[in-house]
């Protein structure tokens, strides 16, 4: 099969249901970029991304008979990935509150820059910004964290978030509202700890 040929997902699924191992391999390879993107964005601390991706695929195969085709198959798989990540995030203890002193030098600079209304331009600043965002989001509930990550970092629309998570729009709005309120508190706490 040439590389640019579209992937025959229904055909592959039918072969997987007939316990064709080669088809199962093809399905994993096809869906791996989607799953690993979700896993990397929501990876709990001290969890290997490959282990989590494997867990997602094992659940996918175990529940394959339950897939009725009501939503596109990649959306169905992404919901499994999302709930698996949330379960892992729930299972681990919340991060302890962090203060200004806990930030690396670059993270503190980035925070100074966004506070002073300056854009962080250098690639190193962008990496530090991502680290800082991960630290801040680590303080939120897993569901709130996921909602704000999808909307503000991955810039998905409400409808896309609904398709990816299976949550309804009012629930997404509540979770985003809660996440933003908590982020405000965190920024305020960081600023207070900087002054002290």
């Amino acid at each position: 099969m040439p590389d640019d040929a579209p992937f025959d997902l229904p055909g592959c699924l039918a072969r997987v249901r007939r316990r064709d191992q080669a088809a199962a391999r093809e399905l994993v390879e096809h869906l791996y970029p989607l799953v690993i993107r979700i896993v990397r964005g929501r990876l709990p601390r001290r969890t290997a991304e490959e282990d989590l991706a494997q867990e997602v695929f094992m659940k996918m195969f175990a529940r394959l008979d339950q897939y009725q085709g009501a939503v596109p198959f990649p959306h169905w798989v992404s919901r499994i990935a999302v709930t698996t990540c949330i379960d892992h995030l729930r299972a681990q203890q919340r991060r302890p509150e962090f203060r200004w002193a806990d930030l690396s030098e670059q993270e503190a600079e980035v925070l100074d820059a966004v506070t002073a209304d300056e854009a962080a331009a250098r690639p190193a600043d962008a990496l530090a910004a991502r680290e800082l965002v991960d630290k801040l989001l680590g303080q939120l509930k897993p569901e709130d964290q996921l909602a704000i990550r999808l909307l503000d970092l991955e810039q998905k629309s409400m409808v896309e978030v609904r398709e990816l998570t299976g949550w309804n729009i009012p629930l997404i709005k509540v979770r985003v509202f809660r996440a933003r309120r908590k982020l405000r508190q965190l920024f305020k706490a960081l600023e207070n700890s900087e002054r002290s």
């Binding site: 390879e29 175990a62 966004v114 920024f187």
Partner: protein, 100 residues
């Protein structure tokens, strides 16, 4: 949008600029390993032979229960004959002695 929300939006915008350097294709052997594990873990209840075996087990259990019930039914025991009742309630020796 208040100033803290703006700070968050600026920080999120900066974080989005971070390059994604990690490869997003499946590592070598990952797909084969996962497919093999999934197949090993999958229940094979869908196989016709197994379904037939389960049905046969059900029928065998039903027959066993029926057999036990039939053997325990008191109606199936042979009823006592009238002569047996006579010897159980009367003493034949005493009756003969009285006649003589």
């Amino acid at each position: 949008m208040n100033s803290t929300d703006k700070k968050w939006q600026r920080l999120a915008a900066a974080a989005r600029q971070a390059p994604e350097e990690r490869d997003s294709t499946a590592p070598y052997g990952f797909a084969a390993r996962v497919a093999a594990r999934a197949q090993a873990a999958a229940p094979e209840a869908g196989l016709p032979l197994e379904r037939l075996a389960f049905r046969a087990l059900g029928v065998a259990c039903l027959l066993a229960v029926l057999g036990v019930l039939l053997n325990l039914n008191p109606a199936a025991q042979p009823a006592a004959a009238p002569e047996d009742w006579f010897f159980m309630t009367e003493d034949p020796a005493a009756i003969l002695l009285e006649l003589t």
